[in-house]
Every structure is written in structure tokens, then in C-alpha cells.
Amino acid sequence: MSNVATMKPVRPALPEWVRRLPEYLMIWVPLLLSAAHLVSFSLWTIWISFTPSTLVPVSGWVGLRNYSSVLASRNWQIAFDNLLLFGSAFVLLSAATGLALAILLDQRIRGENVLRSIFLYPLAVSFVVTGTVWSWLLNPGLGIQKLVHDLGWTSFKFDWLIDRDMAIWTIVIAAIWQSSGFAMALFLAGLRSVDTDIIKAAQIDGAGPVRIYRRIILPSLWPITITVVVIQLQFAISTFDLVRALTNGGPGIATQLPALVVYDLMFQRSLLGRGAAAAVLMLLILLAVLLPYAAWRYVQRRRAAHA
């Protein structure tokens, strides 16, 4: 070791991997930790879903029994139907609202900054707060209906919150209020990146605004629409705090959603195995949504690579 010190002027050529160790660490450690936790947590949940675990995880094997009892339960069936309804209604309506807001804001209107902040601010609020506040507003005895009654219009009725057929729409309303600002931001981003030269050319050709939107601008928003839909779908599937604070699954069990059922089984009913089975079913629903998206992305990339 002593002669290393005497050779100070000449820096020994470190092997490439040692020299680049810091960057490998910075890249790989976080990414691997993140990937490892996702993979291992998912595998763990799948394993638990086949065990008779109740209060705490235990080993054992019950085959598909947890799955069959989840699938047979009224709660899950209602939750699944609700997810179809809530998921599609929320995704469509929040994308539409977001697009409409973006187009309106893109009209070079005054006070765009203020308006944009107004549409974005609900994103800053926690789901629990959103749910609580909307439960005040939508409760017929406390909120909007009472206000209108007190103002004199006593036949006014807005009681979706206590109507088991309509209650799911109150969640749609609150969710749209909370998250269409994000869709708006994405669409606005898309509108702002449309090539202005093409628009100018079209204007010179005498195309009106409606025609320009239909023929040029909206088609170019297609990729963003997919992003919006995927992000909102993910939001719809994992909706939890919002429902818990707004309806807590009620009236009765009319507004159950899969995430609520998972939490309820795992922690409220202390049926970890069944809760895990419900979680795996939820993951399968997610995959059913994500796989087509991934395929679409793959095709897109292939096309881009060939172009």
C-alpha cells in the first residue's frame, strides 16, 4: 500500500464500473426499490388471497374459497356494477368537462390565470374534505335543497344523496368537481402545443372556428385524451376516501365501490384473506383497463419507429 502513496501524481485508472458507481447507485437503487416494493407487495397480496388469514397474515391454503365468497357477496356485486357505472360516467364527464374548460380558457380570455386557478384548486383539497363538504351541500336536510326551501321554493327537490338509485351520481359530481381541473390542464397543454402555422393556414383558407376545432385541433388531442382517460380511470378505480366521507357506501350499501370493499374486508371485518382476494380482483380489473392501453402505446411506438 505504501508505494501507492508515492505514485500520487499518476492516478490509477479506476475500472469503468467503479468510476460510474455513484451514477449506477443513484439510478438503480431508487428504481429497484420502487419496482421491488410493487412486485413483492403484489405477490404478497396474491399469496394472502389463498390463505385463511383473518386478523393477521397466516400461512395455509384455502384454494379459491376467498375468491368465491367475495364474488358471491352482494357487496362485491354492487361494488362492481357501481364501478362500471361510476367509472364510465366519471371518466366521460370529467374528460368532457376538462376539454370544455380548456377550450373556453384557450379563447384568449381575460383573467385566464385566475380562472385556471379556480378550476385547479380542488386538486389541492384532500378527498376527505371534498367528501365531507359535498355531503353537507348535497344532504337535502342541510344543504342546497334546504337553502332553496328556505328561500321559498318548497317543492324543489334535490335529494340524490339519500336516493339509492341516484346516490352514485353524487360521487360522480364530487369527483368531477375535484379532478376535472387536471383534465383541463392536460387538454390545455395539448391545445397550446398545436402547431399554430397549420391553424393560420386553415384560417387563410377561410375555415371557421368550429371547422378548425373539428378538423385540426381536436384530432390532434387524441393522444392526450387517452392519457386523461387512463389517469381518470385509475382515479375511478381507486376512489376510496371520497366515498367514505360522502356516502360511506350508503344509502344502505348502494354506493359500494371495490376499493371500499377491499378496505372493509381487510380491516373492518378482519378477513384479510378475502380482502386480499378482492384486491387481486381489483388488480385484474386494472389490468383489463391497462393492457389495451399498453398495447396501443406499443403500436404507436412501433409506428413512430418505422416512420
Partner: protein, 428 residues
């Protein structure tokens, strides 16, 4: 866990304080410390546990309470995490059959010696005691008792109905509700619409119609009883109750309605004694309402027991062990139980506490008398809605059916009874 308080008999709470120095010497003069988890964070619950903590500190202990606000589920998540981490709290809030279930996943403290020293067993209702010693040894201690089917009557609504007789049977109850309706009370029933609230309506109905059927069907899950006519009758009664409620209540908590109840816009409420603590904290007067045992068709009070308790988890640390002993002594102490119940509106677990004195309300005396009578006539039952009769999974399965029935008036009582039996089968 070594408990070395045999030299002195702790007969009453005042004696516990005297005994402490001797106990501390035996433990090597450590300062007792207690780590505790509960969901009691707000209102009268928060005030009561805080007062208990003060007493603990007065006795020289270090009080380390970790409240988990919100639902019981979050409190249990916290407890589960601590247990899985091998670091359970010295004691935590837990009740009913969950005590037995949770005691299987982590070692608990054998409290037999300290319970015997306090002579506690003799003064606790036997059905209740059983829940706290699932394997024969005391591992948990009940702290306070509620009956979930007390009947709260609004004075002003009674005036409107020109009624002064407290209903005894469900028929009386239904008559009174009709009278109130006719007398201009907007909603004769003031209950809320949460899941446990809906569960309470059903259990009160069934227990009032037939305590024996309740015991068989709900507590023992007897298949025949679950398909019996009493269940259908109970659902029919629940429908009447639901029809008299303000439909707008949605999933709101009962406390949202308290003002309208006192004002006489709402007439009756089937609720536990905790409502009394809430009413008093809110500044309402005892003259505004009357508390009576819930309707019972055989005329004798039916008591649907709900008891909050602490379970004690094994710890190796000497100071925590000393803290557990001190806590156990405090929880069993009649003076402490008196203090606690007077804050929350419950009644003491100890049957030997005299409620005639200052600080007790008429409602609490009624509740206590109802308990004594119910024990004598074998009508002291365990509440389903508040997780005393069954473990959480079974309770939740039952309440699914009940809450759907309350909110969906197209379901027939017969249908609901079938669904309840099916739900029980599915959750077994």
C-alpha cells in the same frame, strides 16, 4: 407478568392509592408508565380518557396515550401494526368478542391476581365478565356500560302529542309515534342513519319483541331462530321506525338531529347513554328529555349491553408492567368508574356503585335499574350493532342487510329475514 399486590387487599379505589407505595417498592421503585391506544379523541370520550390519564399521573404514573381519531377500523390498523412490529401498547381499547379474537395473535397479561385483589369478579355481570376472560383468565377489563336501546323522549314532542306516559311495549311506542305525528311533530323518530344506528333500530326491535329469540338468533346464530317469525316481526317494526324518521337524514350521525329533538321537531330516539353525554356537553338541560328503557313487549326492561374495555398486552419492561397494574387498579376503582361515567353518560361496570348521589342523572339511574332488572329476568343481552354479540365480520354482514332494508322500502320484511339468514351463513 408478576403481580405482587397480595399483601394488601384492594377493596376500593381509595385503598388502591394507599396500596401503591408498597406495590412500587415490590417492583423495584420504577415509575409506572402506560402506553395506550384508543379512538377516544373528541367530545365526551376525549374528555373522559383525558380525566383518566390525569388520575393515572396523579398516582405517579407516566401517561402515554395515543389517540387514533376517526373510525374504529383505523384504531385497529394502528393496533395491528404495533402488534406485528412486536411493540404492542401496554393496553388498548377493545371490546366484545374482538377481545378473544385479538388475544390469539399476541400474548396478553394475566390479570387474575389483580382482579382478585380488587374483588372485582363479584361486582361484574357474569355475561360481561365472560367476554373479558375468553380463555378463563382475565385479560381485559370493562370500563363502562351502555345500553344501546335506551329510549330518549323529547319533552316538547311529548307536550305536542299531549302524552305523558312512557311507552313500555312496541305497541305503546307505535301509538305514541302516531300521536306525535298527529300533534305536529315533524319526525317522531330522531335517529341518525349511520350503519351502527340502523343496526341499533333492528336489535332494539328484536330484543323488545323477544329476548329469547334475540339470544338464539343473534348471539348464538341459531339457524332455526334466524328463520323464526320474531325476525320478520322485528323487521316490520324497523320499517315503522324508518317511516317515522326524517328521510333527509341520509348517513348523518344522530348528533346532527339533537337540536331538533330537544326542540320537539323530533320525538323519540333509540340510542345509547352516550347521547346523554353529548346532549349535556352541547348545553342542553336534563329537563328537556326523559330516558327510559327501550320498548319491551313483556313489560320487563331489556338491556342491550355495550361495554367499552381495555385489553392488556404483555410487555417486558418493568415500568410498563407497573403501569399496567396501576391502570388495572384504576379501571376497577369505583371512584374512577364514577368519574368516567359521569363524563360520558354511561353507567359503571360495577354493580355496587350507588347512583343516588350527586352527579348522576335520572337517565343513568334508570339505566342502572334497567340493568339490574334485566340481569334478574335474564334479559341482559349483548348488543349486535356495537360489536358485542359477534365478531366484526359477522356483525358487518348482518348490518349490510339491515341498513339496506332501512334505506330501501321495497324490501319486504320476509325478504330481509331470508337475506339476514343467508348473510349469517355466508359469514360463518
Amino acid at each position: 407478568m408478576p403481580i405482587t399486590t397480595t399483601r394488601r387487599r384492594l377493596l376500593a379505589g381509595s385503598a388502591a392509592a394507599l396500596a401503591l407505595p408498597a406495590f412500587a417498592r415490590a417492583q423495584g421503585a420504577v415509575k409506572p408508565r402506560l402506553t395506550a391506544i384508543s379512538q377516544w379523541s373528541a367530545g365526551s370520550d376525549g374528555a373522559a380518557i383525558t380525566a383518566l390519564g390525569k388520575k393515572f399521573e396523579e398516582k405517579g404514573g407516566v401517561w402515554q396515550h395515543s389517540p387514533v381519531p376517526g373510525f374504529t377500523t383505523e384504531m385497529m390498523n394502528k393496533l395491528r401494526a404495533q402488534i406485528m412490529a412486536g411493540d404492542p401498547p401496554a393496553c388498548s381499547q377493545l371490546k366484545g368478542p374482538e377481545i378473544a379474537a385479538w388475544s390469539k395473535i399476541a400474548p396478553t397479561v394475566d390479570l387474575d391476581a389483580v382482579v382478585a385483589a380488587a374483588g372485582y369478579e363479584k361486582v361484574v355481570a357474569p355475561d360481561l365478565a365472560k367476554l373479558h376472560k375468553p380463555a378463563g383468565k382475565w385479560i381485559a377489563l370493562p370500563l363502562q356500560i351502555y345500553s344501546t336501546n335506551m329510549l330518549f323522549l323529547s319533552k316538547r314532542a311529548m307536550d305536542k302529542a299531549k302524552a305523558d306516559k312512557i311507552p313500555v311495549t312496541w305497541a305503546d311506542f307505535n301509538d305514541l309515534a302516531e300521536k306525535m305525528k298527529a300533534g305536529g311533530v315533524a319526525s317522531p323518530i330522531a335517529n341518525g342513519g349511520t350503519r351502527p344506528d340502523d343496526g341499533q333500530k333492528f336489535e332494539a326491535a328484536l330484543a323488545g319483541i323477544s329476548p329469547a329469540a334475540y339470544r338464539a338468533a343473534i348471539m348464538n346464530l341459531d339457524k332455526k331462530a334466524l328463520e323464526g317469525p320474531e325476525i320478520k316481526a322485528a323487521f316490520a317494526q324497523v320499517r315503522k321506525i324508518a317511516d317515522w324518521m326524517d328521510p333527509n337524514v341520509g348517513a348523518q350521525h344522530f348528533s346532527t338531529n339533537l337540536k331538533r329533538f330537544v326542540d320537539g321537531d323530533m320525538g323519540m330516539m333509540i340510542m345509547g347513554g352516550w347521547a346523554q353525554g353529548v346532549l349535556r356537553n352541547a348545553g342542553f338541560k336534563f329537563e328537556d328529555f326523559t330516558i327510559a328503557p327501550g320498548p319491551s313487549d313483556n313489560g320487563k326492561p331489556v338491556f342491550l349491553l355495550n361495554a367499552d374495555a381495555f385489553i392488556f398486552w404483555q410487555r417486558k419492561e418493568a415500568d410498563l408492567q407497573a403501569g399496567q397494574t396501576l391502570m388495572a387498579q384504576l379501571v376497577m376503582d369505583p371512584a374512577i368508574q364514577t368519574m368516567y361515567s359521569q363524563i360520558t353518560g354511561s353507567i359503571p361496570v360495577r354493580t355496587d356503585v350507588d347512583l343516588s348521589g350527586e352527579g348522576w342523572s335520572e337517565g343513568q339511574r334508570t339505566t342502572s335499574a334497567a340493568l339490574k332488572s334485566a340481569i334478574a329476568s335474564n334479559q341482559a343481552l349483548l348488543s349486535m350493532a356495537h360489536n358485542m354479540a359477534q365478531e366484526n365480520g359477522m356483525t358487518a354482514a348482518m348490518i349490510d342487510v339491515i341498513t339496506e332494508y332501512v334505506k330501501n322500502k321495497t324490501i319486504k320484511p320476509e325478504q330481509a329475514a331470508t337475506r339476514l339468514a343467508d348473510a349469517v351463513e355466508g359469514a360463518r
